[in-house]
Symmetry: C2
Subunit: 479 residues, 2 copies
Amino acid sequence: MAADAPHLNTPSDALIRQFESVVGAANCLTDPFEQAPHLKEWRDRYTGATKAVLKPKSVDEVSRIMQLANDHRVGVVAQGGNTGLVGGQIPRPEGADVVLSLERLSKCRALDPDNQTLTVEAGCKLATAQAFANEAGLLFPLSMASEGSATIGGNIATNAGGLNVLAYGTARALTLGLEVVLADGTIWNGLGSLKKDNTGYALKELFAGSEGTLGIITAATLKLYPKPAGQATAMVALNTLQDVAHLFRAASMRLGPELTAFEFMCQHAVDFTTEHMPQTPPVFEQSLPWTVLIEVSNLTSDDQALQSLSEVLMVSDTERRLVATAIATSSNQRQAFWKVREGISEAQKFEGGSIKHDVSVAPAAIPDFIAAANQVVEDLCPGARPCPFGHFGDGNVHYNISQPSGADTGEFLDQWQTVQDAVHDVVAKFDGSISAEHGIGVMKRETLARHKDPAALTIMRRIKSSLDPNGILNPGKLL
Amino acid sequence: MAADAPHLNTPSDALIRQFESVVGAANCLTDPFEQAPHLKEWRDRYTGATKAVLKPKSVDEVSRIMQLANDHRVGVVAQGGNTGLVGGQIPRPEGADVVLSLERLSKCRALDPDNQTLTVEAGCKLATAQAFANEAGLLFPLSMASEGSATIGGNIATNAGGLNVLAYGTARALTLGLEVVLADGTIWNGLGSLKKDNTGYALKELFAGSEGTLGIITAATLKLYPKPAGQATAMVALNTLQDVAHLFRAASMRLGPELTAFEFMCQHAVDFTTEHMPQTPPVFEQSLPWTVLIEVSNLTSDDQALQSLSEVLMVSDTERRLVATAIATSSNQRQAFWKVREGISEAQKFEGGSIKHDVSVAPAAIPDFIAAANQVVEDLCPGARPCPFGHFGDGNVHYNISQPSGADTGEFLDQWQTVQDAVHDVVAKFDGSISAEHGIGVMKRETLARHKDPAALTIMRRIKSSLDPNGILNPGKLL
């Protein structure tokens, strides 16, 4: 495999000094204490080592770093806010790679309200980009729990998803243009505010989601949108996943792009959250097998949004599928609803070990997929508590499994690989994806090789070799 | 350049017989009369030659054709409905390429209303795909004048645009999955209904828009949408392009995705159409410098659409920028409005020669771009009549120029290259695109080499070489 390129070198001290001369001593971190925040993933699953963390301030500095690294065949790991969940931003533990942190390359280059675009450098934090848009009376819709730390460069390099994909798409779809430094230091200026451009291959789409293996994203032009003027949010309790699917279909057919969230949670997820997390009182007197958080946004008014939402709930309830509904009557209540959804991962920790999956299937296949996965899990780990939740409308299931109540956490987690392989086999039966939004990184690299269409792997390896013939870009990741 | 690969061979008679054994004698056209419809572009600008037009019936046959062609280093030109405007679907005139017509590979493989997807083979006509969606109560929004002949494979291979891009995006954005046969005959099955999938590079995006130079698209999974329940359409006359830009901004901020069309036309365009075309009576008593066709679609009702449209027009008129407005009160009138817009190209023929451009800039830059281009044209061809129109919201200007009244058509058209180069230079000054939606093909290949960022060209050539090392896929096109 191209990414296994065995001929990479550990940088010599002389080369480190050359890197230092590019970025300045203060921005070439060789001290282990200073390096530490860049070498450990926040969930503590991956820890790397490096001779230097480099913090360039300009695209030109990135280019010179890449030239040096390419000439000397040294691996380079791009890093944004270090919030990735699959280890893609962490250097290999042997210490042969240098880390290229984009955090100082964080300027806003242009805000263009007339064309509804924002051009920022890669190290700009997602929350900062959102704030720039907001100040101009516009919306940059990409949103996720890590937005205060995650960077635009990292978001695009991993094609991040999050909470607003249903109406606005993932990071790739929100990217109008890119500036990228290639493996050999060549700078490609593909920035710009064009809505249509048929002058060749889809390069920005290709670099987006390539996890730092094809080039270093240094800046991006982002699509902005009118800010919603009205919103309405409801929680709905239902007995079966088929009823959830029915409600989703009715909502998407009637609301189209105004349906901005359709999140689903199993009973465990809701119970764990209301029990363990602060500020999440139960929404319904008793929890039911499934709870949906549904949100409508429009450009007119809250009243109009409320009316649309109420109509959908009414129409969907003719067969009494909706056991209970609660419509938020204040922004506090709306936030409380979202806290239930957003608290799930954290709440699960109070229930012991959890084996996690970020998978997708076609939305309508979710009920059958979850039934099949639950059966597989029960066969492997009797008593384990599947805790599926996620972005129903995207077909994206966070299929987490909490350990059996009172069981030994270590013993349960020892089954991680076995369980994950079995769940991914179920995903494959449903023509699903083993990584809906978190990417491949190190974590799913072997799983990818097992599940991805061999022709697709061949195409990806050829592209990788053609753009990074020495294999220096994020070695050991993705491919 | 990879695509100039000098080592391609003209197929021997023995090889033609091998191709014939794959597709059957009836589907290996060697007779010039039978070949003719495949060798001439409908605007008569490009004529090619070939020893055989091959019409495979299955993906397996396509694969075997590609294996043979690759083994013998013979160029292969994929062809759908032969409606392309830049010569990309026509074999080179020397006769060395074979034509691979996808027209018999046209089955509907799956219609999935629950997931709002449609999977069809490449040769399925766009109008047929629209009809499949319609029968399921859904919308496939891609739409253009050639939809009765154009095929889904061709639409995706050229990333076609058309009339509904503003709200729904181009063909690439409407593609959820692809099946592609590579240069060496390998079949990549990338079909599927996943809304999110972060397992590697954006391959479907890459093949979409690659104009048959990276692989042969044999099938696609398409995104469907709820059908609009309500529509409202208006024509608006304005004095300046700045006023058009102002109206567009107000409409897009208030209507968001409900703004499904915002087309603009200069005075010549409207005058030519109302004068020369049938069923296009003048909408306004006297034509003004600019006319806009604006359309609102929603999932509720015509009344609601009318109300939204009226509000936008009212709010935008506080400074009397809208000189005259006409809202369609019947579907006949709506169609009459669209006939004015759609009749422009045809109507221009009555005014003599026309030099055409399909370019894009950021939407807000359209007024300055057109002013600058008009100046350049007047300097080169005094009296020539610029006739810009197009998809304002996409930034896509069909910058056509009619000859001076009464001038010699031949002499005017002799200036085609000079004028086009000058206009493209203006496009470049505005960071625009020399091909917004028609692609590169043969027509703009040299222009591309002159205007595209050199790093982008290098990346494209490397990708091309890595996926088609022998350069057999659509030689002489795009790159």
